[in-house]
């Protein structure tokens, strides 16, 4: 009471307060407007750009293009082998990295004691996940081209790519398993199951959501990765469709886009590049969406 009495007795603060209030309301309005404006404009801008790329490329797509062999000189080359290589390299790299990544993640979450050594392992995993992709390419060259002398091959690209995927898979697995409620684990042990049974029958199924998200993230990243592939698998393909040979050159779709845009001499390079971009965006989005739909459905179900 005495405070307000004093305030009323002094007219200056009341005036100042009123003025400041006006200014701060104005600032608030400006801020709100700015944030809404920037947020909407930026997101629409990026989506618009991608939409533009899709719009240029998608209508021109045909089966001949998706399935056809690339050509160096004449018009009308396709992207068949490159598209096939993309999925082939992705598949092999996941085949290598998923078991190792999962096992390493399980170790860090379940078995690892809390000591300095494990701390170092954790730093290694994080450090590896921050290594720029081109370094994996250089590593791949030194390992496969120089040491094993097998040249630029699909195998080299897939293994280098697997190294790139490893740390992400490890971290995601560790985090998802750690997030499993401790009651579930205790209940499983109380039923007399061993550690392995608990991990296989309880922890992994519950953590599967998170692990799947991680796999889909890495798959998407590996699908669009180009620096590693250029260095370890070259820019060309073997020129045949369905070439399962691990030792043939393995230019993927992302590499093909770069090659066509910057080095190729075919007259319709621009058009091929546009169509390739559209295909690339389409599959990258598809990989992400297909893996995520079950997740979204799950969270919807849990919320409801």
């Amino acid at each position: 009471m005495s405070m307000s009495m004093k305030k009323q007795a002094n007219p200056v603060p009341a005036y100042a307060f009123g003025k400041r209030r006006g200014a701060s309301v104005l600032m608030d309005r400006l801020f709100t407007g700015l944030v809404w404006g920037v947020g909407i404009v930026v997101i629409l801008f990026i989506i618009g750009l991608l939409f533009l790329l899709l719009e240029k490329g998608l209508p021109q797509l045909s089966w001949d293009f998706l399935y056809g062999l690339p050509s160096e000189i004449e018009e009308g080359g396709g992207i068949g082998p490159a598209l096939f290589n993309s999925f082939y390299v992705l598949f092999i790299s996941l085949l290598i990295s998923i078991p190792i990544g999962l096992a390493a993640g399980i170790y860090l979450a379940e078995f690892a004691p809390n000591n300095k050594l494990i701390e170092i392992v954790r730093i290694c995993v994080e450090g590896l996940s921050s290594v720029p992709s081109i370094i994996f390419g250089l590593f791949g060259i030194a390992l496969f081209v120089e040491f094993f002398e097998i040249g630029l091959t699909i195998l080299g690209a897939a293994v280098s790519l697997a190294f790139l995927n490893l740390p992400v898979l490890t971290r995601v697995t560790e985090e998802s398993i750690r997030a499993v409620p401790v009651e579930l684990r205790n209940a499983s042990f109380a039923l007399g199951s061993t550690h392995l049974q608990t991990i296989r029958r309880v922890l992994l199924p519950v953590a599967m959501n998170g692990i799947m998200t991680g796999i889909c993230l890495t798959a998407g990243r590996a699908f669009g990765e180009s620096a590693v592939i250029i260095l370890t698998a070259g820019v060309s393909t073997s020129g045949e469709m369905w070439d399962f040979n691990l030792f043939s050159p393995g230019g993927t779709l992302a590499v093909h886009l770069w090659y066509v845009q910057s080095e190729a001499i075919v007259p319709d390079a621009q058009e091929i590049a546009q169509k390739t971009t559209a295909v690339l965006i389409f599959f990258a989005l598809l990989i992400n969406i297909v893996f995520r739909v079950p997740l979204w459905l799950n969270t919807r179900k849990n919320q409801a």
């Binding site: 608030d28 920037v38 990026i46 750009l49 995993v125 290594v131 081109i134 370094i135 392995l196």
Partner: protein, 320 residues
Amino acid sequence: MIDMNPPSDSKAPSELGQSFAKVSGAKFDRKMRLRWSNKLFRIVCIGSALFVCLVLLCILVLMLRTGILTFSNVSLAEFFFSTNWDPENEHYGALTFILGTLALTSLTMLISIPISVVVAVFLAEMTPPWLRNLLRPVLDLLVGIPSVVYGFLGLTLLIPWLRTISGHDLADGLLAASIVLTIMVLPTISRISDDAISAVPNKYRDAAYALGANRFQTVIRVVLPAAKNGIMYAVILGMARAIGETMAVVMVIGNTAQLPNSLFTPTAVLTSNIVMQISSVEFDSTWNYGLYMMGFILLAISLLMIVAVRMLQKKGGRNS
């Protein structure tokens, strides 16, 4: 033949539990099998974890060992302080690329940090729930767009546009590259910052509003400082991505080994120079060693950033 009815099955019910304890050892029965598979599984897991460490160690050793060979022909001072990169004539000065990488990263961060933080505030504080649930997955999807697509976008849409605006014949250069990188890292930084801002407890906001603050004051004075560590984490991750990005940069930077005198001068950075030259050089040449040394510099920068992230996390852990 496999014996489908082992003798232990024909024992009296009272003996069934006993057999488990008695018949272990020489025979490979269920208990042993369980114990053995548990041990084996543990060893496989340990092996995998060690394998991940081994990969990093191999990369580090190999990059350093190959890179260090540069200095048998080139002095340290020339490599780090000369801008003359002309391998055909035995000049190996990498300063241009190091400065180029630093300049490109700082310019990218200068553009992308303010925009990303505003987008994050927009997502976390302002949007109605339905719009938020729509935009967050969209941003997540944008993170998954291949980098070479962003490079193509810069090459075909951005550079012609920059050409008409700036009036230069060639618009390739730092500005084009940093705009492309900004578009690339923006979804990453804003989504992680968005998570950090959303993680600020609601009681902070309630307290701020109860003190009479409006939304602007609450966000600037209370929410953003509370989410500071998370935003720093997002920024460092975005920065690591920008430094290591290769293909998107190669397509728009011009790939000329010269110090840029303006934002529109073609130049080169560490990653672009490595990828453009590595396939055309002999492995056992000083040129190649120089490229590996540049790779090692990149590696060192990115590992330093991870140390920074860890220190941030430790600090954040102590505060909360």
